[in-house]
């Protein structure tokens, strides 16, 4: 048999790593339902042992670590897999609950070792000191060890935040340049657009929360450019959640970036009009999907990207049930990318101050409205993925905590949708402060959460500039 290429080996490693997470997840899930001696549990253990013992024999020990929202198998980051998405999320949640940062399988395991692990794992789930409980139980075997979950240090993120901010503004200014060029009838460099989007894809894969945080920056005067970039970022992030590969994410990011390009045909005095639109003006606004198709197809010859971009430009206001605009005569359904862009476009538009609605909605209010639209205006399945991505309190939500502190949602949590990280802007004494950033998953010694959101407030009502805090 021919030797495997490096690429094949690499794929195999990733596949095996995903299998470890998946099989361990199955063991733990099954053990939470059945008694540990049940055949379903023992079968799951046998499958897990077959794989892990093979790996231990090759690698001289295997460690499964949780860092941030990602698992690592002996230092190699395990790629998110759509196939195992739920099991990944489950295991992250269960590790976090028990404050486990690393499980080290030191020597080939026997079924008894796994039974001990399960005993500790389940007991820890009911304890206020979960890590201590499981650690104590594990003293019964020498073959499995655990480490406590480490908090990600704040220091390292400062520079990263700067890099992300730069990329974000690069994307916005590039978009502005593209739009101006198209207006002037000049040629647009698609290679550059790809590079911009590739950077965003990388950052979504590595620093998703930081880049998503940037989408909260809304500039009324530069709305179109910010909105285009925000829709691109949110689409990439949603695509990533759905397991799309890098190439598809770039494609999605590009088509999303150009979704509103038809607006270049709308006179600026209408777009920036301070009063409500007349019927005729609305008619013009509703032409922008058609003009988008024309603008894109005029950019260059037909190819995969222009075709997909034109489709999304045409369909992004058409609605899931085709009730939107432009009106169509013989049409079947929206494209997959159009449905993604449609969801994130609505969300970003609703949460921005823009032409159609001068006063933006708070993110959680926007989600409530979108929930009502799921199944009619927007794809219910994609919305479900979206809401699971942004969480109950999306970044930028102004919240009141049970500690009488007021803060701004800074980062969402993949596992605990209602327990994001919050930047405190008013302390419990009613004084303006700038931080700290608190993690709402943190508990006190009795296992009670230290902070919980009790109310959400409308920042626009009080003219609170969210971007001031998030930049």
């Amino acid at each position: 048999m021919a030797e495997k290429t490096e690429k094949q080996q690499e794929r195999e490693i990733h596949r095996t790593s995903q299998d470890v997470v998946n099989l361990l997840s199955v063991v733990l899930r099954t053990a939470q339902i059945h008694d540990s001696s049940n055949v379903a549990v023992t079968t799951a253990i046998d499958k897990f042992l077959a794989l892990i013992n093979y790996l231990i024999s090759i690698e001289d020990g295997i460690s499964l670590s949780l860092v941030g929202e990602f698992f690592y198998l002996n230092e190699i980051r395990i790629r998110y897999s759509l196939e195992y998405l739920l099991n990944f999320d489950f295991l992250i949640r269960e590790f976090k609950k028990r404050e486990i940062g690393k499980v080290f399988f030191k020597q080939p395991l026997k079924p008894e070792d796994m039974q001990i692990f399960l005993k500790g794992f389940i007991a820890a789930g009911f304890s206020d000191s979960p890590y201590e409980v499981i650690n104590e139980v594990l003293s019964e075997t020498e073959r499995i060890e655990i480490d406590r979950l480490k908090k990600i240090s704040e220091g390292g993120t400062v520079d990263t935040r700067k890099v992300i901010k730069k990329s974000y503004y690069n994307a916005v200014s590039f978009t502005k340049g593209v739009i101006n060029k198209i207006r002037a009838g000049e040629k647009v460099n698609l290679k550059k657009a790809k590079r911009i989007v590739e950077t965003m894809v990388d950052q979504i894969l590595e620093e998703e929360k930081l880049l998503l945080g940037m989408t909260v920056i809304k500039d009324y005067d530069e709305y179109t450019y910010h909105h285009s970039v925000n829709v691109s970022i949110l689409s990439i992030a949603l695509g990533q959640r759905m397991g799309l590969n890098k190439r598809m994410l770039t494609e999605l990011g590009l088509v999303a970036l150009f979704h509103d390009i038809g607006k270049i045909e709308i006179p600026e005095e209408i777009l920036n009009k301070p009063t409500n639109f007349t019927d005729d003006e609305w008619k013009l606004i509703k032409m922008h999907p058609l003009w988008g198709v024309k603008a894109i197809l005029k950019l260059r010859g037909l190819d995969n990207i222009t075709i997909k971009s034109a489709i999304v430009a045409f369909e992004h206001h058409l609605n899931y049930d085709l009730s939107g605009y432009p009106k169509v005569t013989k049409y079947h359904e929206l494209d997959f990318y159009s449905r993604i862009v449609s969801v994130v476009d609505q969300y970003d538009a609703m949460t921005s101050s823009r032409v159609y609605s001068r006063i933006p909605l708070a993110p959680d209010k926007a989600l409530s409205i979108m929930m009502e639209r799921a199944g009619t205006q927007i794809d219910p399945l994609l919305f479900k993925f979206f809401i699971n991505m942004v969480g109950v309190f999306p970044i930028g939500t102004l919240v009141m905590l049970d500690t009488k502190e007021m803060g701004l949602v800074y980062e969402s949590d993949v596992v605990f949708a209602d327990r994001p990280r919050v930047l405190i802007i008013i302390n419990r004494n009613g004084e303006r402060v700038n931080g700290p950033v608190v993690n709402l998953t943190e508990k006190d010694d009795t296992g009670k959460y230290l902070r919980t959101i009790v109310k959400t407030l409308d920042p626009n009502k009080y003219r609170i500039n969210l971007a001031e805090y998030l930049l």
């Binding site: 010859g301 489709i311 005569t329 409530s368 929930m371 303006r432 109310k455 971007a467």
Partner: protein
């Protein structure tokens, strides 16, 4: 110290050598296909150079300047040229540093070198080097990129200005405090329920993604037709027409005949729609001209010749939409096609198209390439329109025998009084193949004058001097008439006696015997019986063949 300096010098030399193999590979990998020994050898040499270096060092890192490449701050490559400048080649796309790590596998190096070998200058090439490196996701080759060049000069300070603007809009502390205190009066957060994702959701998503992976051009075409219903001005329909043309071209380039048919069929339906204006109809009608243009026909020709499996039925249906302007390019590419299959497809479409405009097809008779002329004659024969005779008669003197034979055959099939004289002249052509073709053509015409011409020809004195093969064709042809004239004529030849030139006479008799057998007239049996034991082998054999035919049927 001296040893250290020598080591460094050696390292720099090795780094230079690596640069040279990169340059060489960049050139050769573009020139030769992967199965070529030069390609393989270049790769092997390159890999060896890298391996030798990385056996002793953990990394090979080069820093890229506009016109030079540095290793360990030492220039190992420099050029001020605008073309063929490796430093500039990397630099212009923002690449500033490249690192090759220990363990670099050969297939990763090959992928890297293949990227360098791309024709980046080609207009249709849409990627830059960084994008290609990014897509490959190399494990042992890392790079550092400067993204600054992505931003236009006038937008350089965009971030600073935008951030300053945001920071200037500082929230008033009073507003903030008011929000805080009024916040206590707000209703408690009810929350929106987040339903966790389930296996069923994932399954549905996978299905959606799979369903969506198909070609998108069809969707775009539907959109363009939707837009036709919403066009408001002349430029709009002009634009849409241009996009439809682009779509047709795109489909032709991708061999998507079904989609081209879809476009044409949609255009046809739309034209019939009473709500569609005359201007729109005019443009849609022009699509039929476009599919028959040189630009599109050349793409079809390329597709047919490529050996790709295509549905001929689809093309035949497309050909129904061709208008007569398609004839000229079809004929042009008919002469350039390399495969029989491709020519057959084009010929079939010319046959159906020629029925609308025989004059344009006939223009192909003037083509300089004899094989094209022969194909055109074949096409005219298949069209079977007597109007073609006028053009064919002008071609009957074509210098190429193959063409002449095809014309004669076609004239024979088309028939008519006007062809007789030209065919008769062909019976005296110096080339036997032409004469035989003319004889068969008369047989196809099958009229009394045609019969008479053949009988007269056989009766000529010089006929006996013809080769046996030609004689046999004459007799075989006249046997088609099966009438009394022919029967008596044949019997008479059978009964002819001669003292001189008996060998030639036996040939004629043998042919007559054979022809009598073909007439099916059983009265010939008595005549033939007399020759079944003839001393002349030829006459004996053909008489027996004829007898068997007549007796056994």
């Amino acid at each position: 110290m001296v040893i250290l300096c020598m080591e460094i010098a050696e390292e720099i030399k090795e780094a230079r050598d690596i640069l040279q193999v990169i340059l060489k590979a960049k050139k050769l990998l573009r020139m030769y296909p992967p199965n070529n020994p030069i390609y393989t050898k270049t790769l092997e040499e390159s890999f060896l150079k890298f391996k030798q270096f990385l056996d002793y060092k953990d990394n090979f890192t080069i820093n890229i300047r506009q016109n030079s490449i540095l290793y360990d701050d030492e220039p190992i490559y420099s050029s001020n040229e605008k073309e063929d400048n490796l430093a500039l080649f990397f630099f212009k796309d923002g690449l500033r540093q490249l690192t090759f790590k220990k363990g670099l596998p050969s297939d990763e190096l090959e992928e890297f070198l293949k990227i360098l070998a791309y024709d980046f200058e080609h207009e249709a090439f849409d990627e830059d080097i960084v994008t290609l490196l990014w897509e490959k996701d190399f494990q042992y080759i890392q790079y550092i990129v400067d993204e600054a060049f992505l931003i236009d000069e006038e937008e350089e300070n965009y971030e600073v200005v935008a951030e300053k603007k945001v920071k200037e809009q500082v929230t008033d502390v009073n507003d903030l405090v008011r929000a805080y205190f009024e916040g206590f009066q707000e209703e408690e957060h009810k929350g929106i329920a987040i339903v966790p994702l389930t296996d069923k959701d994932l399954k549905m998503l996978v299905e959606e993604i799979e369903r969506d992976s198909s070609e998108k051009i069809g969707k775009l075409i539907s959109i363009l037709f939707e837009i036709i219903y919403q066009t408001v001005g002349k430029t709009d329909i002009e634009d849409i027409f241009a996009f439809l043309r682009d779509s047709v071209k795109y489909c032709a380039e991708h061999g998507d005949l079904a989609m081209i048919l879809e476009i044409l069929s949609k255009a046809e339906q739309t034209i019939k729609d009473p709500v569609i204006g005359e201007r729109e109809k005019k443009y849609l009608t022009m699509l039929n001209q476009y599919i028959g243009s040189d630009e599109i026909i050349s793409l079809f020709a390329e597709l047919f010749d490529s050996g790709v499996d295509i549905d001929e039925g689809l093309f035949n249906n497309i050909a129904l939409y061709f208008d007569k302007n398609a004839i000229e390019p079809l004929i042009k590419y008919l002469g350039e096609l390399k495969t029989i299959r491709a020519r057959k497809i084009i010929i079939d479409s010319l046959v159906s198209l020629g029925k609308k405009d025989i004059h344009s097809i006939a223009k192909g008779l003037n083509d300089e390439r004899w094989y094209v002329v022969r194909n055109i004659i074949y096409i005219l024969r298949k069209i079977a329109d007597k109007r073609a005779i006028e053009y064919l008669l002008k071609t009957i003197r074509h210098p190429d025998v193959r063409v002449k034979k095809e014309v004669i055959k076609t004239l024979g099939e088309l028939g008519g009084r006007e062809v007789i004289q030209s065919l008769r002249e062909c019976l005296d052509d110096p080339d036997m193949q032409v004469r035989i073709a003319a004889v068969k053509a008369f047989g196809n015409i099958a009229t009394e004058p045609a019969k008479k011409i053949l009988l007269d020809k056989i009766s000529e004195k010089s006929f006996k001097d013809k080769q046996f093969e030609e004689k046999k064709d004459f007799f075989e042809t006249i046997s088609r008439w099966k009438d009394e004239d022919v029967f008596n004529f044949l019997v008479k030849i059978m009964q002819t006696r001669s003292f001189f030139n008996r060998g030639k006479l036996f040939e004629s008799k043998a042919c007559a015997a054979y022809a009598l057998g073909l007439t099916g007239n059983k009265d010939a049996i008595i005549v033939l019986e007399k020759f079944k034991d003839s001393g002349n082998k030829l006459l004996r054999d053909y008489s027996n063949i004829a007898l068997r035919k007549l007796i056994n049927g």
